[in-house]
Amino acid sequence: MSVLIGHYNYWIVIFLMMAGLYVVIAQGNLVKKIVGLNIFQASVFILFISMGKIEGGTAPIVKEGMSLYSNPLPHVLILTAIVVGVATTALALALVVRINEAYRSVEEDEIHEQDQSF
């Protein structure tokens, strides 16, 4: 039981990761796939941030009277990772726009029919 409740953050991570991957694989619409990718990436962000939290620690900003702080490093790493994620999403969406211009569709199977690309 303690595994379930004590590690609830990891369960959330796993759920989101699997949901994201499922969307990426199972969805035929290219834009929805990107959504799935974002969910997948979000799960990783939560993994990092939740591991940085110290029980009983406060926000990582120096303040008088506080001795225990949560780890600031994961936050920094995740800010970078979020930026990377944003760039990836932007690029993916740009590709979808171009694909739409070229194929007049954003559905995977219709594109596949047009020339077996996928």
């Binding site: 991957l21 990426v24 290219l30 796939k33 990718l37 997948f40 990436q41 990783v44 993994l47 990092f48 591991m51 490093l73 994961p74 790493l77 970078t80 990772a81 990377v84 760039a87 990836t88 690029l91 993916a92 590709l95 979808v96 171009r98 694909i99 070229a102 194929y103 594109i111 020339d115 690309s117 996928f118």
Partner: protein, 494 residues
């Protein structure tokens, strides 16, 4: 004073050239600046290699922040070697690019092309030079995103879907690597590679570290295009502009392979990676699958670029096989093949680029009778093909020798036989192209007098071909550095 900052200059020079190309909006200037940046990067890489061979490991603290809290750039024999080959290929490809991109990329987009190319180069060099795992992830994404863009710059619409698929698989791979990094950080509290190698032995028995190992290996395998995670590669190489195919084929998977070496041998250590985890067996099976599936698939391809792409998948199998021996000979073979394959594939893709420049496409039909109309190009392709097969006096032979010697050293002679049989398979697909070029008459539609490729494209192609032969005869640099790198990798870890 500059020599102190070489590690960081290696990345900054191409990185700053990128916005320069974009701002200038002039094709010639963009090309000139890129070539200058790439050439400078090559010089820096050569200097770094010389320095590290003399002094040992070079450690550079970014911004003066001391390790292990600050980001460290750490150069030893392995990554200096990788830096050298990446910058060399990049420079050769850029000389080639001036004419090649005019036919394959929309003229208004050419400055963008050079800008993104520089970003990709900066990313790859950053991966190779850094000593911090998160910094590695960031550079990996920089190079990945720019390579997706480079592929999508092609005029063919299939390149868009190829880039899209590559984006997804690449991002999933990078995210897996990020998960692995996170788990490692969780257990050790550090992101510095050297520090990780010191702290990990104490915690390797935990499931977290084993999970991290698994995520990292799978993530990197996606980037290397190790079978069965190779599905992005054939389309990406086939539909990208020729310059991009040449550059990425010769560098991207090699740098990813370097990341694998770093993680397996420097950070985790041989005993954990190969004795505790059954990586040996998994790698041998996957490598054999890659070697045979790749070679056999290549035999049936009509598009020559896809043929070379599948051939690359097979060659990656060779490199993984070398690692799986976990011996100095095996690792030397793998690192040697990293260098040699970059030379081989770079040369072959450049030769194909010449064909595409004249004929617009590179299918078997286009190759018919090309031996007579483009003699220098096809001669280059034939010689590159011989190197791929592993004829003595070429680099391919040296790699094969070490692989087979490594297998026999371990007593695993069936693997030695497998390597040689796979070479024979490569003979089949190389010879298909050579026969089409020299024995078949061109189809009537293609009979217009297109003639040989321009000199600025032939020269870098032949430079790489001659390098194939030079390093196949005078192996002191490549074998010397590869074996000292192998010893370093195996010695640093237990």
């Amino acid at each position: 004073m500059i020599t102190q900052h070489l590690p960081v200059l290696q990345v900054i020079v191409p990185l700053l050239t990128a916005p320069l190309c974009l701002l200038a909006q002039n094709r010639r200037f963009a090309w000139g600046a890129s070539l200058a940046a790439s050439g400078t990067a090559f010089l820096i890489a050569a200097l770094l290699l010389a320095q590290t061979l003399e002094q040992g490991i070079i450690s550079y603290e970014l911004g003066g922040w001391s390790t292990p809290w600050g980001i460290e750039y750490r150069v030893d024999t392995v990554n200096a070697f990788v830096l050298l080959i990446v910058t060399a290929i990049s420079s050769a490809v850029l000389v080639f690019a001036q004419r090649s991109v005019t036919r394959e990329i929309l003229s208004t987009r050419i400055p963008v092309f050079y800008a993104v190319y520089m970003l990709c180069l900066a990313g790859l060099l950053g991966i190779a030079v850094t000593g911090d795992v998160f910094n590695l992830f960031v550079f990996m994404e920089i190079s990945a995103l720019s390579s997706y863009t480079l592929i999508a710059l092609s005029e063919q619409r299939r390149a868009l879907t190829a880039a899209y698929q590559y984006l997804f698989m690449g991002t999933i791979g990078a995210t897996f690597i990020l998960i692995g990094i996170g788990l490692l950080y969780m257990m050790t509290g550090t992101l510095n590679m050297h520090d990780l190698s010191q702290r990990l032995p104490a915690v390797t028995a935990t499931r977290t570290v084993e999970t991290a190992f698994a995520f990292l290996t799978v993530g990197i395998s996606i980037k290397i295009a190790l079978v069965p995670l190779h599905l992005w590669l054939p389309n990406a190489y086939a539909y990208a502009p020729s310059v991009v195919s040449a550059f990425i084929a010769a560098t991207a998977t090699k740098v990813a392979f370097y990341v694998l070496l770093r993680f397996l041998f420097t950070i985790f250590g041989v005993s954990f990676a190969f004795k505790t985890m059954p990586l040996n067996l998994i790698f041998i099976v996957l490598a054999l699958a890659a070697m045979f599936a790749g070679s056999i698939a290549a035999i049936f391809q009509d598009n020559i670029k896809r043929l070379l792409a599948y051939s690359s998948i097979a060659q990656i199998g060779y490199m993984i096989l070398g690692i799986s021996f976990a011996s100095v000979t095996g690792l030397t073979a793998a690192i040697l093949h990293l260098f040699n394959h970059a030379l081989m594939k770079g040369a072959l893709f450049l030769a194909l680029g010449c064909v595409v420049y004249r004929l617009g496409m590179a299918n078997m039909k286009q190759m018919r009778g090309l031996g007579r109309r483009m003699p220098w190009t096809m001669a280059a392709f034939a010689l590159g093909g011989l190197s791929l097969i592993g004829v003595p006096l070429t680099v391919g032979f040296i790699s094969k020798w070490y692989l087979v010697a490594g297998a026999l050293e371990r007593g695993w002679w069936p693997l030695a036989v497998a390597v040689l049989v796979a070479s024979l398979l490569s003979l089949v697909y190389v010879w298909r192209v050579i026969e089409a070029a020299y024995f078949q008459a061109p189809l009537p539609a293609h009979n217009d007098e297109t003639g040989e490729a321009p000199l600025s494209m032939l020269l870098p192609t032949w430079a790489l071909i001659l390098a194939n032969f030079y390093f196949g005869i005078d192996t002191s640099l490549t074998v010397g550095v590869a074996s000292s790198a192998a010893q370093q990798l195996l010695g640093v870890s237990e």
